[in-house]
Symmetry: C2
Subunit: 159 residues, 2 copies
DNA sequence: TGCTATTTGTTATGCTATAACATATCAACC
DNA sequence: GGTTGATATGTTATAGCATAACAAATAGCA
């Protein structure tokens, strides 16, 4: 299972590994992976794409785990706070973390054609953002780094 | 008037310069800076902060220039397409471009305390995002680069 | 002038997100 | 074991962001 990229991988194993990592992280940090939260994470992992909060809610609802928006948003708050999922600001959507367990500042490549999203890692202090922050004395706490464009497959299709 | 930063500058001159640059750009590119569009740009420049579409609409409405959401969104579409304004995805808000006229990939520093926003410039191919794109064959068309944190003033206040 | 494309006006609606309060569950402590 | 406080869930209502669709006006050009 590659950390970055649009290619295929052993998805069932990827889900199991991620859930196990989430459980370890919760045990270590005294967080509770309750049924709703765990199911939400499973759904995001299984879909393997950015889901809107209401899409997630629809899935949760099928499983009898809440039917009102706050249920989904609370689960997403937990997952994003714990680093198990990320919000894609450009899409107002949420995606399971691809490097679950490590503390990181994620970056995303978003295909405008097939809507697939790949996660990379960044260093907050690098690039112009870091330069600008240093120049002005700004203290960065969180970064949103997203690129929109065409993934390799969709470039081929277009050509 | 500095391109980057949170400090004071000659704001009236900054507005005039930007409007003039916008007019030149429209003349060159056969774009129409209609009354609504021009007023919207003036409002964004004058406010000098990120405004929600409905905030902008309220200002336009005071001037008798439309009272329904699409009016604001159309003006914003025009301004952002032309590069006269940018959307801050993290805030669902819009801000006048600080380097109006030049083609660029903007980056933003957003203070979570006072909500001020500073614009810097980036190179799309730099940093991890560019590395990841090259590694995977992804073709970047647009980037969203935003940092959230504390500006120098708010760091001082907190201390 | 008449044609066409663009812009604006307006209604209605859909998607995204949270405030507020009630209820339930859990863990720690006496 | 029961009380207490903190955390999590259920539910209603509403706020905030954005666009589809169509009608009317306006501008540029043959």
């Amino acid at each position: 299972m590659p950390a970055i990229g649009f290619h295929r991988h052993d998805h069932a194993a990827c889900i199991d590994t991620s859930i196990a990592a989430a459980e370890r992280h919760c045990a270590t940090h005294k967080l509770k992976l309750t049924p709703v939260r765990r199911r939400a994470l499973e759904i995001l992992l299984r879909e393997h794409r950015a889901l809107g909060a209401y899409d997630l809610l629809a899935h949760l609802s099928e499983d009898g785990l809440g039917s009102q928006p706050p249920v989904a948003y609370r689960a997403l708050d937990f997952l994003t706070s714990a680093g198990f999922a990320h919000k894609i600001e450009r899409l107002n959507a949420y995606i399971a973390c691809a490097h679950l367990g490590s503390d990181h500042a994620p970056a995303f490549l978003i295909c405008r054609s097939c809507k697939s999203v790949a996660e990379a890692e960044t260093e907050m202090a690098r690039g112009r953002l870091g330069d600008a922050a240093r120049d002005t004395g700004f203290r960065i706490e969180r970064t949103v780094i997203e690129a929109e464009g065409l993934c390799p497959d969709c470039q081929d299709t277009a050509a």
